[in-house]
């Protein structure tokens, strides 16, 4: 499992996370990121989603 922090204040609603790891990330009506689960699997998609966020709003705590 991964420890993930999402910073809704920094999120710009790019949706790169939702496109890359749709099982873990979603966006609310104004486009802001939401975590769909507390048990985030350590997969390459999730790591890629966190890395691709242009606002660097998704942090993985190692």
């Amino acid at each position: 499992m991964l420890q993930i922090d999402v910073d809704a204040d920094s999120c710009v609603g790019a949706g790169q996370c939702t496109l890359t790891a749709p099982d873990v990330f979603d966006q609310d009506d104004s486009g802001i990121v939401m975590l769909l689960t507390d048990d985030v699997p350590d997969t390459s998609e999730v790591r890629e989603a966190a890395a691709l966020c242009p606002a660097r709003a998704i942090k993985i705590r190692e």
């Binding site: 920094s10 710009v12 609603g13 790019a14 949706g15 790169q16 496109l19 890359t20 966006q27 009506d29 104004s30 486009g31 390459s44 790591r47 890629e48 890395a51 691709l52 966020c53 242009p54 606002a55 660097r56």
Partner: protein, 385 residues
């Protein structure tokens, strides 16, 4: 031991270095930057930081973070030349051999010869942390600002100046264009500025420093302002490579995955990628990140991931402007969403019968609808040109 040298410690360079370690790269990493100080990203410089809030938002990684990823970070060390055949860089401090070098030297503001006098007289440019601090001081202490250039950066500066309470004059081209948006896709730009009190002038004007501040001629009456900011585009910082590699103001040429020559890679604003000209993300933070991830994988020989859809965003007067995909000059705008007043706020970009891009002005819903159409060949919508 394999040594990777990265030139430029902004978002592209730092993402690359983090990506290498995440992929298990165990060799040596040297990260150079001409600027001193810790690595930072630029988007907040024209937003929160101009308004004096959240200065920490620009930080990319601190010293402890760099140490934990095991990087020899050398702020203040400029790469001066590259020797491709012998695989070494010449820096201000000496020779630096490499197995792979990643060029991440970014871009810097364009100053056309006919506007040089403005910079000499104290007009502001905005690229670095220091530039942002200087312009933030203007927003705190002056009453009016003239902005030259209505692109992303000029528009963001106007937006910040208006919210800081300054009388704001924008000198822009008559045909609006902002980032990847042009024509119909950019049509909301000037009305948006005007609705928020920006005085937009589109006739050609000469700007000069005068006794009481700055003046722009043209129009019915000259425009006056206490300070001037110049934001008419950027040129790649590639001149230091020109002795050895094909470079232009667009940057250093590389293939579709960032390779320039054996052992030489380019990422971010300095990378002139084959086929990338109309990506909405060209010269944005998103492209810098995606390219850095991709090149890190190529250096270690890891399999590529599905590439991310190009993405662009800016914030103007509290409105989020977004785009995805590609918007070539020939693309038609199909209106996907209108606001209550009937004004188009979201568009699909249709090129040769296929939806290749999406754009929206202040409509998260419209943006998602338009983006969901990417790749579609039947676009059931009103068409405007």
């Amino acid at each position: 031991m394999t040594r990777v040298v990265v030139v430029g410690a902004s978002v592209a360079g730092v993402t690359l270095v983090q990506g290498l370690r995440e992929l298990g790269f165990a060799g040596e990493i040297v990260l150079l930057d001409a600027e001193s100080g810790r690595p930072y990203q630029r988007p907040p410089l024209s937003k929160e930081i101009l308004l004096g809030t959240s200065p920490e938002r620009a930080d990319l990684v601190d010293e402890a973070g760099l140490e934990s990823i095991g990087v020899d970070f050398r702020p203040g060390e400029t790469a001066e030349r590259i020797d491709v055949a012998d695989r070494r860089l010449l820096t201000a401090r000496g020779k630096l051999p490499y197995d792979h070098v990643v060029i991440a030297s970014g871009a810097a503001p364009t100053v056309p010869a006919e506007l040089r006098h403005l910079v000499d007289d104290g007009a502001h440019l905005l690229r670095t942390r220091r530039d942002a601090a200087a312009l933030a001081a203007v927003l705190r202490s002056e009453r009016s600002l003239m902005v030259i250039g209505g692109g992303v950066l000029g528009s963001e500066i106007c937006s910040a100046a208006v919210s800081a309470g300054l009388r704001t004059i924008l000198l822009a081209r008559p045909t609006p264009a902002i980032g990847p948006l042009h024509g119909v896709f950019a049509a909301p730009l000037i009305p948006l500025h005007r609705a928020h009190g920006v005085e937009v002038r589109t006739e050609p004007a000469r700007v000069d420093r005068s006794a009481g501040g700055w003046t722009a001629d043209g129009g019915d009456h000259p425009a006056l302002a206490d300070a001037v900011a110049l934001a008419v585009g950027v040129d790649a910082t590639a001149c230091w490579l020109a002795n050895a590699l094909p470079t232009t103001v667009d940057g250093v040429r590389c293939d579709t995955s960032g390779r320039v020559a054996p052992g030489v890679w380019a990422v971010g604003d300095v990378a002139d990628r084959a086929g990338g000209r109309y990506d909405v993300s060209r010269r944005t933070q998103s492209a810098a990140i995606a390219q850095a991830r991709e090149v890190a994988r190529r250096i270690v020989g890891a399999p590529q991931q599905r590439t991310a859809v190009p993405y662009f965003w800016t914030d103007l007067h509290g409105i989020r402007v977004q785009a995805a995909g590609r918007i070539p000059p020939s693309a038609e705008a199909h209106v996907v969403e209108r606001d209550d007043a009937g004004t188009p706020v979201a568009f699909a970009a249709v090129d040769r019968g296929r939806c290749v891009g999406a754009a929206a002005w202040g409509s998260a819903r419209g943006f998602r609808r338009a983006r969901a159409m990417l790749g579609d060949t039947t676009i059931p919508q009103e068409v405007s040109r």
